[in-house]
Symmetry: C2
Subunit: 278 residues, 2 copies
DNA sequence: CGAGAGGTTGAATAAAGTCAACAAACGTGG
DNA sequence: CCACGTTTGTTGACTTTATTCAACCTCTCG
């Protein structure tokens, strides 16, 4: 029930004492974004020139460690990440966290709350964050007069689903090494998209959180990163990562479950090994 | 492009020779459902008394083994399962299938196609099926005049997402035994909902498909079912399942990744063991 | 400078996967 | 309708992978 938590000024701290701050929009922001800004952020075509000057969406800020929403809390808004890093988690019957995603710029939060009108996951800021608040009622009302927006909403929901499906595919079929490799590639791509270096970056989450996200223990994550470091695919030092051989990371699939014995499994294995061993 | 398929009369056959019939609505159906029927099926409130007499949706039939849609095929419709059993799969770079879901009555198919306008998964009939065809354009057009329908669409998409999230949680955090147990409980619940026996039913899929769905090998699935049989929680014979101790199945969670060492892990383990051992 | 959280590494263990042999059911064609 | 080949399911022996437990190290923050 109770969660630990102390929000500090530095990005890299999460677990804080419990029930200190209520989740939700404390620190009301000063910034506003137009509908067009929002669509641009989501990479969604927005053609219509309308009266959007007064269609503005408020920003909200969260400090590292703060919760944007908690499980069971009443749903009334989606959020788009304008800046910062977060994690979303499910909490099981024993209080164990299962990390579902690490939202960053342009990602959307809160979609899981639409259907039951209660958020079914918890979103926690891993660094100081600036989010755009999208009141759901307002959004759907707008969608009725702006067809592109209507489509955008459907698209975004579907996109989230496809993302989760890819995650299921990964958890169901890949080895620990392959999962960690994909995780690094994914981060690299995202950083590139945000205009940061895709070769050199800092992890925003702990080994424990990465492990939870990938269905592995923190030790396995640590060991795998060390192994990649060893063979020169990356250089890792604590949370600093340098990608040295992106192609190798991308090709490092491995097939631990025997989902593929029927086919060309021998060739695959050899090809994968070539990368894994060196 | 072309997909394989030869539908046979018996339910239990899938992988078939290639490039025979294109996926999609061969055998145009004779049945139609009203918007109200559809909403009822989805357990969605539908209050408005409107001109729905002519808002009819066509049914389509698929025989066991046929594909409803394939990966990369143009998206233009969702489907609701009216009767029958299916599987949806992702196919990786080596042609290995990853089962994503086993849709049955009242489930929706095709949502993953909305955003890219291409289906990103493949749906295969495991038995003869009767589906309701929902042309997406028609659906969204209708939603503009029927607010409940608009909400229904958002709800359904969100619901799918929550389902996938639960799946990720399961794959990321549960042992083989716990996954198989949950799978059985899930089936039991679904059969109950459809008015069938929740205690005695037939599996519609192979051990291989179950394994793929749960991120396990077919041998592990087989062994786990045998073990449950051994200790009397179920009786299993090939595809016939009898649930003998539903509560035990529901309580059989187990925590193989160390996602929980911080807390009351000892008590949990003991409680789980009590069930697992007997 | 000291405490505590986060990270690394090693050794032992446990869980699940692999390979292989066999058995049961199905469906096809003689 | 029965025999036979194919697909599906079961089980055992063994191997591999990842987890567990524990010690130690390293940063950061107060």
């Amino acid at each position: 029930m109770l969660q630990t938590q102390i929000s500090t000024s530095k990005p890299f701290s999460q677990t804080l004492p419990s029930s200190s701050l209520p989740a939700g929009r404390q620190c009301q922001g000063r910034l506003w974004s137009s509908l067009k800004d929002v669509c641009d952020l989501l990479r969604i075509p927005f053609a219509s020139v309308c009266d959007d000057e007064d269609l503005l969406f408020q920003h909200v800020q969260f400090k590292a460690g703060q919760r944007v929403h908690t499980i069971g809390q009443n749903f009334d808004a989606l959020y788009i990440v304008h800046s910062g890093f977060l994690k979303t988690v499910l909490i099981d019957e024993y209080g164990n966290e299962q990390v579902l995603s690490f939202p960053m710029k342009a990602d959307i939060l809160g979609v899981d709350g639409i259907n039951s009108r209660l958020y079914s996951s918890e979103a926690v800021a891993l660094s100081d964050c600036d989010l755009i608040l999208l009141p759901f009622k307002k959004l759907t009302a707008l969608a009725r007069t702006h067809v592109e927006l209507e489509n955008a909403i459907y698209d975004v929901l579907s996109r989230e689903l496809v993302r989760e499906q890819a995650m299921v595919g990964m958890l169901g079929a890949l080895s620990a090494e392959a999962r960690v490799a994909r995780f690094l590639v994914m981060l690299s791509d995202r950083f590139a998209l945000m205009g940061y270096s895709s070769k050199f970056f800092n992890l925003r989450m702990t080994r424990h959180e990465i492990g939870s996200y990938l269905g592995l223990t923190l030790e396995t994550v640590s060991r795998t990163l060390s192994a990649f470091n060893e063979i020169g695919m990356i250089a890792v030092n604590q949370r600093t990562i340098e990608i040295k051989d992106l192609e190798a990371l991308k090709n490092l699939r491995r097939l631990p479950p025997s989902r593929n014995r029927a086919k060309q499994s021998k060739e695959n294995k050899l090809a994968a090994m070539a990368y894994a061993v060196q």
